[in-house]
Assembly symmetry: C2
Homo-oligomer: 564 residues x 2
């Protein structure tokens, strides 16, 4: 490509509203343009990078035996109604009606479409497992779009869906996909942390995010220093230490407690640490049942885990009036007296002689001990990790920030139980629902992340694997000999099948070199009167500081070596 | 690919509702599945063909210097309002609102999006011309979708848009694109007729369709036998012969005419051919002005041409009451008396002594002669070509039917006049609107057309250039030696980078050979006990009847030759 002909040249000025460095550089260097907030054009330079990312993903996916296909963008809304996702999805679904009144969802993810496709076939256990994937445009009606490609309303996504006879078979694919994702991001140039996370709106039990550590990311998580364990706050598992194992168990006692309703008020009254108290929250589950949720006073309820434990997606803390109706008082609710379903955190077993309310205003119960004085219906992990916690084996958990570029989900039979007829015939001749997983990568976000990670003050520094061009020839001055040699090299490289951009403009050296830095093509070759006199070109890698001189006669073979 | 692992196998039974042969074969052979009417999944086999078509188009487009980019699928509706296309498009636009109330069109074509992109840049005459294109999903809210890929509601389209300083420059690109389209379709295997057609909803003055002659097509057109001229009925230019040049001009006469209101009634009454009468239709233009439209009685009004002549997009014939209000009578309207704007067809000059109505019931005027007795405000070509007409130079026009697979449009400044700021700075320093063209190819329809053209009773016969695989290995029987050799050949071909499908199933020879015919891969290689004994494989081209025996030792080199 000759730069003089390229559609989408560099620009200097940037709107003050552009905050993210990846947004700024991709805009300035001519890779993207915003249509309206959260919706982007990919210009010729940008689409080249995007296609290289797509090709890498495709190569790795195909190597696993996954098969590419494509679904329509408009999904019949009745499919989303079959799985109840019209009301349950965590992202806002866009819907549209056609003139005959048929309703459609603009594809957000494609579980229903893939299941609907698969159930059109008579699938036998012999056909299993299979993994089918697509690259297709996805839509999210986000209220706020961030600048640039990191959080948008419309984007190209690689979404894969695997179908299995059972969980055992699925787990092999899940592991394979995890390894494949690591390999994909590595080839692109990104180092990812694999983070346990909540399955959220997609449904299913467990899933992992692939996160690139970056302050620009919206993903917060906890991990060990060696990254052997990493998880979102909402799913992180942490150790609950025994707080006072040697203390003697004392007799239960109810006392006046002239304090306010908070844990801090109790700390003040008794002058003892927060862990000494039981925190009990009344939750309203499914807009209906009231549940008592108790945990150690220094911890907070993890509603995500609580939802899993209660097998619901809908819960909220009760109001003051609702608590009064139960016969208790805000700030003095205890797990001892009310006749409700009870859920407790594992931490209830780590303290002797708890203090807690007595379901009366300004009365507390002292020396409460789990099992001696109360039990719960469900004792499980329902707490958010506190600061300075550790894994079960004692490794310190530290906070990380990053950009989620991919994720893999266990879906189980969440979809196939709900969509009738999505079954295979098993060896025993019986019809069984498919066991499923799904696996996504956001292409644009991956592209933006690369720029967040690889740039300097002068511009982008593309990793070779996804650079829009490998070589950037810059001719300087009007000398015909220089231009002739530059043209010659440009043609030789094209013939050799090497992606080359040739800046053939009659612009100042400064302008052309600045533009080259901004665009970030890995190898810059400058040809000028000065280099010609030495029978050489100036060879400079974008990622390195210094240039070297390479004799013209050697430059082609050296480039071919670089291209490997 | 091993067929045992392929997602989307052949099926035998087809719904009675599937009428088109391309629909039937693509369904049976496992290339596509319908989601809902007019919206299709492309299965692994189908997407391979689609991608080969895309690659061919891209190669040819890039060779012309056109540059690929991509726009969002959702187009801000205000852009379509700028050009007034929200009300004027000939296809039904789908629109959607997001939760913040912003309205979008689901991309039907992308003129506005491309112009909006281009006007974000400061374009100088030095940057012109350029041609930018994309492959993107398009939406048409068709009331009726035909089966299969020939007329759908959602499809992948290659749409290109060129920007020029003036019409002269545009015409070069228009010619280049026309030649490129012919080359693209030739490489795919399709022979196209280039047909003049109406510009319709896209706007602009002239355009051409690329049509593959087929009875399955919805496109009707007229062409000379040598195809040097081809045009849609609505735009076809034809010769109007002098009907009675030697007749003496007679004096005007008004007479009682005991006849019905039709031309046929006049023919009956006077026992003279229809051309002897003037047909006059009252049109209501732009819901407002009434216009008299007259032409020779054997011809019909061409409303498309009439719209162009009247520079409107909205007209309809007047009602009986409206004609009465004007002081005339249906069936007896004449171009002589009413004080209205008058449009006449060129054919009015080809007859001496016309008969026509007298604007009174059952009264006719005889011996009416153009110029002596009346003239019109606009005399132009506003007639549909009759049966058995010829071009101006006397070549017979015959009717053709076909499938439109591509089109090229002159847009002029239709869009850039309406979208403020879509200008370039010319040599004289002045801002001028871009002169534009646009160029589309429907990918799915092209794929469907190939199947319409290339099949036999047993299945599809893919042209080599776009076949999903080049080679189809079929092993027959359970003999280990056969299977081992088949596997070996399969691996050799994969290593050589040749697209190969290997039917490794334990199925009967009949089933496997029938499936091979149905899928239509160009080269079938059968390996069985019998062929192994001869140290050979059975080599059969799908497009040919007979098989030959090729020694195993020669088969690789022969395939490589075939692959060229």
């Amino acid at each position: 490509m000759k730069y003089s002909k390229l559609f989408g040249k560099t620009v200097k000025d940037v709107s003050q509203e552009i905050k993210l460095v990846s947004h700024k550089l991709l805009y300035q260097a001519g890779f993207i343009r915003e249509s309206v907030a959260g919706r982007y054009y990919f210009l010729p330079l940008g689409i080249r990078v995007r296609e290289k990312i797509v090709a890498i993903i495709e190569k790795h996916m195909n190597a696993t035996g996954a098969q590419k296909l494509i679904t329509p963008v408009l999904h019949p809304l009745e499919l989303w109604e079959e799985t109840n996702r019209t009301s349950s999805v965590g992202f806002e679904l866009m819907t549209v009606k056609d003139q005959r009144g048929a309703a459609f969802a603009l594809g957000g993810t494609a579980e229903e479409m893939m299941v609907d496709l698969v159930r059109k076939f008579n699938v036998s256990y012999k056909d299993l497992p299979f993994n089918i994937y697509q690259f297709s445009q996805k839509f999210r009606d986000e209220l706020r779009a961030r600048g640039g490609l990191l959080r948008v309303r419309e984007f190209l996504m690689k979404d894969a869906y695997s179908f299995h006879a059972d969980e055992k078979d699925f787990k092999e694919e899940y592991k394979k996909m995890g390894d494949t994702y690591t390999a994909i991001f590595n080839e692109i140039g990104l180092d990812t942390v694999v983070i346990e996370s909540d399955n959220g709106y997609i449904g299913g039990d467990y899933c992992h995010e692939f996160v690139v550590e970056s302050p620009a990311g919206e993903s917060r998580f906890l991990m060990t220093e060696d990254r052997s364990y990493a998880a979102h706050e909402e799913v992180a598992v942490f150790k609950r230490d025994e707080m006072n194992p040697d203390e003697e168990i004392l007799p239960l006692e109810v006392k006046d407690a002239p304090r306010g309703p908070t844990i801090a008020d109790g700390v003040k009254l008794y002058d003892k640490p927060a862990w000494r108290q039981i925190k009990t929250v009344v939750y309203v589950v499914d807009d209906d049942e009231k549940v008592l949720v108790s945990l150690r006073g220094d911890l907070d309820v993890n509603e995500i885990k609580l939802k899993h434990v209660l097998q619901t997606t809908i819960l909220r803390p009760a109001t003051e009036d609702e608590i009064k109706e139960l016969g208790s008082v805000v700030g003095f609710v205890s797990p001892l007296n009310l006749d409700l379903k009870k859920v407790g955190d594992l931490s209830l077993k780590t303290v002797k002689n708890f203090y807690t309310g007595a379901d009366e205003n300004q009365k507390d119960t002292l020396n409460v001990n789990y099992e001696r004085d109360f039990t719960v219906d469900i004792l499980d992990d329902i707490a958010l990790p506190p600061d300075d916690c550790t894994t079960e084996d004692g490794k310190k958990l530290i906070e990380g920030h990053g950009i989620e570029v991919g994720n893999i989900f266990q879906l189980g039979t969440h979809y196939t139980d709900r969509m009738s007829g999505s079954v295979f015939t098993d060896q025993d001749g019986k019809e069984k629902p498919f066991y499923m997983g799904c696996y996504g990568i956001g292409i644009g976000r991956t592209l933006g992340t690369v720029v967040e990670m690889f740039h300097d003050d002068n511009g982008i520094i593309w990793p070779k694997a996804i650079a829009p061009y490998l070589v950037h020839i810059v001719s300087i001055g009007k000398d015909e000999k220089v231009i002739e040699e530059a043209e010659k090299l440009y043609e030789q490289l094209q013939e050799a099948g090497i992606d080359v951009l040739y800046d053939d403009r009659q612009e100042s050296a400064g302008k052309k070199l600045n533009d080259a830095d901004l665009m970030g093509i890995p190898l810059r070759l400058v040809m000028s009167n000065r280099t010609m006199e030495a029978g050489a070109v100036e060879w400079k890698l974008r990622a390195e500081k210094d240039a070297i001189s390479v004799p013209l006669a050697e430059v082609m073979s050296k480039i071919q070596e670089f291209a490997q």
